[in-house]
Subunit: 299 residues, 4 copies
């Protein structure tokens, strides 16, 4: 049993914190809005009045927040985690943020005697609820080993991919591939429909060969029916591709195709489709092919 | 047992014809160069002196040729299949060609009382040898049923995807996705390497989530070691993307990302890498990121 | 005074033929539809019943036709120019066609003892009417000199740019730059408008510096007012970019930006804007930025 | 005669400050390194020990600095311009920075009773020396009028393009068009050379028609000879395209072609060509077309 502070009870964070309670840990939670805090209290967690409060008595603190500035504020700010962290605390940030922000936060933590791991996840809301997340972890090998018993309550594939920041870099690569693959599948679907191909067997045979991918497996059926209820919103994928582009620019890596895909996401947001699932990239390829009808915008 | 004519004994065609012999069919083969013909004769096939010759006594003719003009010549030319085809012959073209060429050949066949299916494959040389090809078939449903017993000796996933031409359109979509996915995986690999990420666990976790695809499963290990022995050559994928682009243009479908990927293949050919495996798209992203060393060119 | 045959009395060809009549040449014209033929007869030209007819008594034949297949038919076909051409005839094709078609036609001409120049023009309908066209000529230097007195009745800038086909290659480069520049100016305009910049002085200062170009000079004012009456239609520029792409592919030249611009033209045609002026590329950038209103389609 | 403070005596700033001295103004300069300060003192200027020092007695302060953070530090920092600015001071920032930074600095200035204009320039080192710069000015119309007598000593085309920030937005649009046009001219040159066209007359005819632009006029000759001495360095244009992309993203404007051009600049920097003139984009298109030889890198 570990004393765990958990900060950030959003769509992802709330079921994750519940799994930790259920696994028998002593969990103290903190969140800006109080509804999810009360829900966690009913489940057996304690509530902390601030990030500092949560950190004070913890062995492990987990943060699960929307974006880089949120993590900076919660960890580095007045009344933040580091302001009250006991020596040797293990801080695990599971948010998706910029790798360079992760490294800066890691530096600040180390200077305060706090161990830091960046441990972003993939698998979405379903993965959080079913504790089947993939977790990509950057940091010291010893800290990774120390975190494993806790992380195993949250995910299924948990890998150590390098020093602090490496977890976020792998997450960036993940989002690069996912957005690009949705785009490719969209081009393929519009091409096939335009030529009158029978779509169900076509998707089946594509999924079964070297073109096979998880977008064909999990998303294509919804795309064929133009169901774009999120899932993972275009707004969020747009944010993640900004991280990808900054990460590539920092290292002088050319990503010509991803730069173009990022422009398509800019267009989708400007067309008021930012709240749709990212598989709605399909609608833009349709529009550009003169095959779009009236468009749903986000509810 | 069916009387089958088989034309085109290249890297793919030769093992396919052998499977048909082994399955007990009466196979007559034709090929420009004679070495593979003799090999098939040893295996139990007969040799035909021309395409017409092969077609004359056949119930089914299969063509497996490099490109659209080859199919036109062998089927429509003097001494071609249609010049000698018996009424009701079932002609199955398994080459990868332009969908509009497939439709033209199909029209000409019908006018001569010959049934026609376009049935391109994916799965490569290994799939041909192991009879595990995926086969995407366009044509009449009745003709598809008639062809199934023969095609089942050649592949594992055999689907009917629409009228004549639909098989080639699905193959085009397949090649679109494969080239684009190699490109995305290349961008991801260069990005990860540039940031010092541990590559083996990174690839593992990417392959296990929504970013998962067959390029990560089958090609990434070779890419990490810069092994680019073909496989499927860049020259051939370049040809296939020309088909993709023509097919999209004919239908007014915009394929912005694939148009860009096609330019990368143009560059790779101009850089003398056309004989490398298509996974060598990685080398171009490396070059553009200032991370390329001296380059292997095709042997 | 020269005996000139002129084939192709479209929007461009008709005023060009009139200039030649006015310059005192003995002009025989041919055209599929008869209205422009009668107009030229009123102006003093003679009418020929076929391309062969026109060629039979000519010293110079000029062709001004829509596309590559038209030139092939009129020059190489039965009853075509070469079927009746006197030895030493100077054939000048002023159409915009593929450079490789120009070379093939040039070969066929030479084999028949006919001299050939490819001499496409820029400057549009206005340039044709005012005889201020730019003419880019490929062929032998001697043939160029022989053609100059005739061409000087049609244009102002007349340059010899290399062997047969070079004229068409320069025209392709011209169309590449024009389409791309319209695209760049479109991105700039939408960016400036989105930020509330005063457009008239902004365009003025852009036009006056290193960003200065003829699109800003001649087209930007109409673009700011969303006037897209052609001018040069998107459909035609789309055709020309197909020529550009084939010409680049033949030489292994990578044109990543133009390949992307070509996709935007595909989209504009699919969106039923093919009859608008090419400056309507602006409307697509607007749409992609969520700033488009209802769209005019071609009348 | 106006009391002018001038901060930033780099390649651009030094000749600009000299023009102001020569025009009879009372100029006090400040710069990190002291050599240019001494040169200006010889020319008749006074030296100020800090930005605050320079601002204290001035009617007008001009800043000409490398990047957004420099302007923030010099204007907003301890001992910065605003810390000592007299009421009603007119602060003119002529650096190229982000439009949103210009707006933030403008807000801070107004809060301190200081009038602010953003007034970036185009025309480069030559324009600065010859006082022929183009100056694009954002801010209040009254402030623009007040600044005109001073700006007229520095440039020839001086336009008011909107509120604070508008000057920087127009500069961003300028850099967007310039980079893209160099790219298009590069594609055209490689295409023409690959086909053996005579380059001098080809460039002449392109420059004379609708494809005409200032890159063809001023840069193409150097590009044909592969002379890439800067001029304007790729490193700086890369920085400016980052500003362009941020400015577009803020407004939800899609700039697909510029996003791709920006990737080419990333590649050129990674290939160690960042110190070459921006016209060296040509070398990348050459490389991608297999026509590059050994490459000069920056000295």
């Amino acid at each position: 049993m570990t004393a765990i502070g958990f900060i950030g009870l959003g769509v992802m964070g709330r079921p994750m914190a519940e799994h930790l309670v259920r696994a028998g840990h002593e969990v103290t939670v903190h969140n800006r809005s109080q509804d999810p805090v009360r829900a966690l209290q009913s489940a057996g967690a304690k509530a902390g009045g601030s990030a500092a409060d949560v950190a004070a008595g913890a062995e492990v603190v987990i943060t699960m927040l929307p974006d880089s500035p949120d993590v900076e504020a919660v960890v580095l700010g007045d009344d933040g985690v580091l302001s009250a962290a006991p020596q040797g605390l293990l801080l695990i940030d599971m948010s998706t943020i910029r790798p360079d922000t992760a490294r800066q936060v890691g530096e600040a933590a180390r200077a305060r005697g706090v161990r830091f791991l960046d441990a972003p996840v993939s698998g979405g809301e379903a993965g959080a609820k079913e504790a089947t997340l993939s977790i990509m972890v950057g940091g010291d090998a010893g800290d990774f080993q120390a975190a494993l018993p806790v992380l195993e309550s949250l995910g299924r594939t948990i890998v150590h991919v390098g020093p602090v920041g490496a977890g976020q870099t792998v997450k960036a690569a993940n989002q690069l591939i996912v957005a690009g693959t949705i785009e490719l599948v969209s081009e393929a679907i519009v091409l096939l429909e335009a030529h009158g191909v029978d779509m169900a067997p076509a998707i089946e045979v594509l999924a079964g060969g070297l073109a096979g991918n998880q977008i064909l497996e999990r998303k294509a059926a919804g795309m064929l029916e133009r169901r774009f209820d999120p899932g993972f919103r275009i707004d969020l994928h747009h944010k993640d591709l900004q991280i990808v582009q900054a990460t590539a620019r920092d290292a002088g890596v050319a990503i010509p195709v991803t730069a173009l895909v990022a422009q398509l996401l800019v267009a989708l947001r400007s067309l008021d489709r930012g709240s749709l699932d990212h598989s709605a990239i399909l609608t833009l390829i349709e529009d550009l092919s003169g095959r779009g009808g009236p468009r749903p915008t986000a509810g």
